[in-house]
């Protein structure tokens, strides 16, 4: 975690310097834009951290290991894929949840599957999607992505 913080700090300093040398005004505008976005997510983000802290306390680690851990097999995958498809959690909020799950013993396979279905399969947003793409195509897209998510989970699990 500390390492990735360093990466971000280093990258942002280098990019800021380059940007500043190329165009001062653009850089300041970029800072302003970034900070505006940060302000927008700061409070919801804090709230989700509270929720995750509470959940970590109340959900026993053994339960997470049993249902989402390395030994959970096909059931762990199914749970992750189905929950990820149904729930509608904004991306930036799902990452602390995923990190907490891994710390609590969930496997990379289940977490990658969960994250991917969360992002790519939308049961709740299906009616909206169907309006744009048509029911059949929207359904096909979701089914293909559901299968892709499971493949992604399995392969990512093999790598890590």
């Amino acid at each position: 975690m500390i390492n990735s913080a360093f990466i971000f700090i280093a990258v942002s300093i280098v990019l800021s310097l380059i940007s500043f040398l190329l165009d001062r005004e653009k850089t300041i505008l970029g800072f302003k834009k970034g900070m505006k976005m940060f302000k927008g997510i700061a409070v919801p983000f804090l709230n989700i951290l509270i929720l995750v802290s509470l959940a970590l306390y109340f959900i026993p680690q053994a339960l997470i290991i049993k249902y989402l851990g390395a030994g959970s097999g096909i059931w762990g995958l199914t749970i992750a894929a189905v929950v990820g498809s149904i729930t509608l959690i904004p991306g930036f909020i799902s990452y602390p949840i995923a990190a907490a799950l891994i710390k609590q013993g969930a496997s990379y396979t289940t977490v990658a599957t969960f994250m991917t279905t969360l992002m790519m399969v939308g049961v709740v947003t299906f009616p909206l999607e169907a309006k744009y793409l048509g029911k059949k195509v929207a359904a096909l897209r979701n089914i293909l992505n559901f299968i892709a998510a499971i493949i992604i989970g399995i392969i990512v699990g093999l790598f890590l």
């Binding site: 975690m1 990735s4 913080a5 971000f8 700090i9 990258v11 942002s12 990019l15 800021s16 940007s19 653009k26 850089t27 505008l29 970029g30 800072f31 302003k32 834009k33 970034g34 900070m35 976005m37 940060f38 409070v43 919801p44 804090l46 709230n47 951290l49 509270i50 995750v52 802290s53 509470l54 306390y57 509608l88 904004p90 991306g91 990452y95 602390p96 990190a99 990658a112 994250m115 991917t116 992002m119 790519m120 947003t125 909206l128 999607e129 309006k131 744009y132 793409l133 048509g134 195509v137 096909l140 897209r141 293909l144 992505n145 892709a148 493949i151 992604i152 392969i155 990512v156 790598f159």
Partner: protein
């Protein structure tokens, strides 16, 4: 009005939690202390990289405006076209349902079925702001592995959709 209420609801939740935490420490309520311990860890994680991430995102936003790339999408085909829609998707932010209006825009501009579905796939999984948060929370190895496995699958989905919808009068509707 609704928006203001929703905004305040978030602060109410935060305030309740902080009050409960202060009370826990005051009365020596252990679960409250433990939960605060969890929260502190998460909070430190967050403040060490998220502000920097947003500086990077902001700079990206001013140097690579989406509009510029949007101009070229649709005109380009082949590998270059695929590359362009993926770059375009990487510069977006927000949930997947925000991608459908853009998909319509691509369709209107003459982008092919394949590229539209590649765009949707890339939008859901390789947006730069999200990749940044993912690296921060799950590490660069996880992020790289997931992205590298995802991309070929999306591209394959795009090709499959193109083949499947070829003679089916597929169109994207505007709402």
């Amino acid at each position: 009005m609704k928006k203001i209420l929703a905004k305040h609801k978030q602060y109410v939740w935060l305030a309740c939690y902080l009050t409960a935490t202060v009370a826990s420490f005051f009365f020596g309520f252990n679960p409250g202390k433990e939960i605060f311990g969890n929260f502190t860890k998460f909070f430190i994680e967050m403040v060490t990289f998220i502000p920097f991430l947003f500086i990077i995102i902001g700079l990206f936003d001013v140097w690579f405006p989406r509009e510029k790339i949007e101009k070229h999408v649709g005109r380009e085909s082949g590998i270059k076209g695929i590359f362009l829609v993926i770059i375009l998707a990487m510069l977006q932010a927000g949930p997947l349902y925000g991608a459908f209006p853009v998909a319509y825009m691509l369709y209107k501009k003459g982008a092919g079925i394949r590229n539209i579905f590649i765009y949707l796939g890339a939008f859901s999984s390789v947006k730069i702001p999200m990749l940044g948060i993912e690296i921060g929370y799950l590490g660069i190895q996880f992020t790289l592995a997931r992205t590298l496995v995802s991309l070929p699958l999306f591209i394959a989905t795009g090709y499959f959709m193109e083949w499947y919808l070829k003679d089916k009068n597929f169109r994207i509707n505007n709402l």
